[in-house]
């Protein structure tokens, strides 16, 4: 899954986000519709699609959508 597909699928999971809201360099926490509940949706999305688990430290580290994607890719290398 490349980053464009990652973003498209993630936006599909978060109904509150209009398609096209997220870009690789978007600071997702600053998106108007973003809430703390969405962190859980991201964890569920990543677990379901990549079978890796994001923890609190991972999420704190990830500022942009691209950071999230890269953390997932790193974790996949270590599986």
């Amino acid at each position: 899954m490349d980053i464009d597909e990652f973003i498209k699928n993630l936006e599909a999971e978060i109904e509150e986000l209009p398609p096209g809201t997220l870009k690789p360099d978007t600071d997702y926490r600053k998106v108007a519709e973003w809430s703390s509940m969405h962190a859980l949706i991201v964890i569920a999305f990543v677990d379901m699609n990549f079978n890796v688990t994001l923890n609190g430290a991972d999420l704190r580290k990830a500022i942009t959508v691209s950071d999230l994607y890269n953390i997932v890719q790193e974790k996949l290398k270590n599986v």
Binding site: A39, L40, I43, A44, D47, L54, N55
Partner: protein, 351 residues
Amino acid sequence: MFSAVKNISFKGLSACVPKTTARTLDYDWISEDERKMFIKNTGVEERRVANGKTTTADLCEKSANTLLEKLEWERNSVDVLIFVSQSPDYILPATAAILQHKLGLKKTAIAFDINLGCSGYIYGMYVLSNLITSGACKRGLLMAGDKSTLSTNFKDKSTYPLFGDAGTVTALEYDEKAEPVFFNLFTDGSGYEAIMIKDGACRNHISEKTFVTQKIEEGIERAPKHLILDGIEVFNFALREAAPSVQNILAESGTKQEEINYFILHQANKLINESVRKKCKIEPKRVPYSIQKYGNTSSASVPLTMLHAIKNELEQKPLHLLLSGFGVGYSWGNCILKTNHVTCTEISELD
């Protein structure tokens, strides 16, 4: 650990909830959009809230009276009573002792408390089953429930709209013809801070600070007397441990996934439970919910979901069930058992 316990018959099930309903849509600490999002992701549309005086023990006492009557069990035939809860009547004595007296059980009965939450029903079933398996105790009552709403702060959106109050009673009986009940149980105390009430017991005595509310983040304010819930860490724990443990007990007990009629999961929240369900590749119709109506009811959630969603089937036909509890501790476990014509009461209410 994994264990098979013989001679246990699952005889009866009963539950009682407070009469007062709190609706998530009315929770005006957060915006209407946030309320709708909360409902969509946690599943909690409404929950029951006990008044100032009613305790978990009161809810369990009413459940026990109703169940003993329906089972037609003489009170002096009950050999053991276990009260699983994190909201006892007092720091001491054990609430189970008070309930032994209130229910009029005999003095030769064993009665004690177990301090566990989300996993408590599975642990309680395991302990009670092991007291009965030898035949030393013939009949036992497992009480499981919590008044969690006492510990949540209105201005904490991560806990206040999630938890509901309930008390349940399960009746087990010695039966040499019963098929084995399988258990697997686990603990990882490294996660003890993820779900926690910090003040009020021995480590942090009650002080003035206990009652001082602080802002933690947007929408979350609480004092050290209130319940903390780290949603992200708990979600991680559930994915990492709960889902694999369900698959493990199936393998270790030699049970095929498709043989199980229903998987009754602790009602943590819908997002967590759906993730566990999908990871275990179980169809939605075999994973019933009660969270929409009662919220997360701690150790009561498994038996409450059974009564809410599959009561008629429990009463009318043999069922093969997998019960799963996971959370505070961290503590988690599963139980596979066969039931046959269980005596069930309606979910009753208490003011």
